[in-house]
Symmetry: C2
Subunit: 332 residues, 2 copies
Amino acid sequence: MPELRQDPTTNEWVIIARERAKRPYDFLLDREVRLLPDHVEDCPFCPGNERLTPPEISVYHRDSDRSNWIIRIIPNMFPALTPKTTTEEKLVDSHFKARGGFGFHEVIIESPRHNETLSEMDELHVALLIQAYRDRYAVLSGDARVKMIIIFRNHGVTAGTSLEHPHSQIVASPVVSACAEKKSEIAGSYYNRTGRCLYCDINRWEIESGSRLVFGNDKFAVFNPFASRYPFEMWISPKNHQASFGNIEPADISELGKVLRESIRRMNSLLANPDYNYVFHTAPVEEENAKHLHWYVQIVPRIWTVAGFEIGSGIYINTIVPEDSAKFMREV
Amino acid sequence: MPELRQDPTTNEWVIIARERAKRPYDFLLDREVRLLPDHVEDCPFCPGNERLTPPEISVYHRDSDRSNWIIRIIPNMFPALTPKTTTEEKLVDSHFKARGGFGFHEVIIESPRHNETLSEMDELHVALLIQAYRDRYAVLSGDARVKMIIIFRNHGVTAGTSLEHPHSQIVASPVVSACAEKKSEIAGSYYNRTGRCLYCDINRWEIESGSRLVFGNDKFAVFNPFASRYPFEMWISPKNHQASFGNIEPADISELGKVLRESIRRMNSLLANPDYNYVFHTAPVEEENAKHLHWYVQIVPRIWTVAGFEIGSGIYINTIVPEDSAKFMREV
């Protein structure tokens, strides 16, 4: 029988369809598998083609090789938001609210190798990638006009990427989204009622139950959330309270890298290297030290379709029970 | 330069990317075009195969031919929600809220012909389809456990359908979604402030401006909303105040059919028969006569991808300016 579950962080309902027990191979898509080359002559992100992109913002090297970058950060050539305009508010047609599309949109080229994805990188490389995210967070959040920062990765065409060379993106926005405001309201009212962070409690509940837990270490818990909108969705959540990813301790950076890599490896193994997104949910800049907010990384394999029901209602239908998907992910 | 626009009905921001002027052919996807046959031997929705589906809930005929159905309504064989369970609330792992997946999920088979879509139907047939929606709305909303009704159509694989025989769906839910609650709050507070329905005002603003208007008649306005999340998104909104589609006047049913068909024809002509969804946004059952709510039909061609940015922020990036898309749709 189907079940409705309420996401405690958004209050939104999710339908967990239980019409039949599914196994991971029920989610495998009929996809063409292409092996990518190590280097592509005309790829703007491959070494030697640096002139095809805007000048770099920063680069990262291995200590052992200072002459070749392993991570390179550039402005997005087709930015969603840009520092070349303002945040000025205006009324369109006397009634509709708009403002200038000021902001920053950067691309983090994750590797010089066209075919090296995060799941294959060594520990140091993954740690440098997380370090790069944190460094850019620190710089961009220093601009007083920036209110919200989104770090994300689109892997594969169905996940929304057009360039196959491994890269992540970071967008700094001059507004806090209504979604993020609502999450802050819900967690704020929970804090006022209980004196506790909702997300710290969720971590504790998930660890105590264990039924949706995938794995974890001293610092991070990885689980399929109770009201997962998407099949095999994972959250990586810091066990200690922390509202903003920007405040991550240097010692936790390589831990996060290891946990992120392990999560993606499990997903790849179970679902045959699906397209996926991951995204860092982190407190709005002005709430970086909030007691009621908590950052986490959400990983979403692209094995679902948004249809009219979801567009119309906001209620998603998840075709696998999170307890089942977590069990598969634990046993990989 | 990009622009941020705020949707007055949700308060959510949308990024309107203006990096270059786009034309409709920039959105054409590389798709295999398949001509469908009129009848498919093993299609469960084709006439003669009625035994392959659960018994019908109701059928519609033409007056001139009482022996053959032209619309047939059946329970969904793989329902998202089902009357076979309860709405009972429970706590899972002592903390998480869930409830039984009670509800109704029906399929409206729109035509006996495997290849006849709404854009090709005659006026009487489209009117009967809208009538069928309204009739099912009336029956399902009569169940005291039903709080919200979603009528929608998924056209094509990328829009989330698995069966190509033309059909729509109707889901009756025992909960009001958090999304719908938020829209009601926003419109309620607008009503308290101004004494007017927000959606009636939006209709008036769109008609006065004309820049995002596609077409209209005495009863309905069709426009690309100011803060369209999706390229070429259309709203069909009744000009007279009406909170619930369930209250549509009999005289307006055939008018709506004509406007819906014309909207889809324009979209098909401009975007080469894209996959699409449409969905009826209508007031929760208990707010059917609300002064602050207003039903409308949203049509969304599937020429976009949700990526990590949208999943993480709730802010969508629309790559065409609604004033431009509306101009193309007006000039078809």
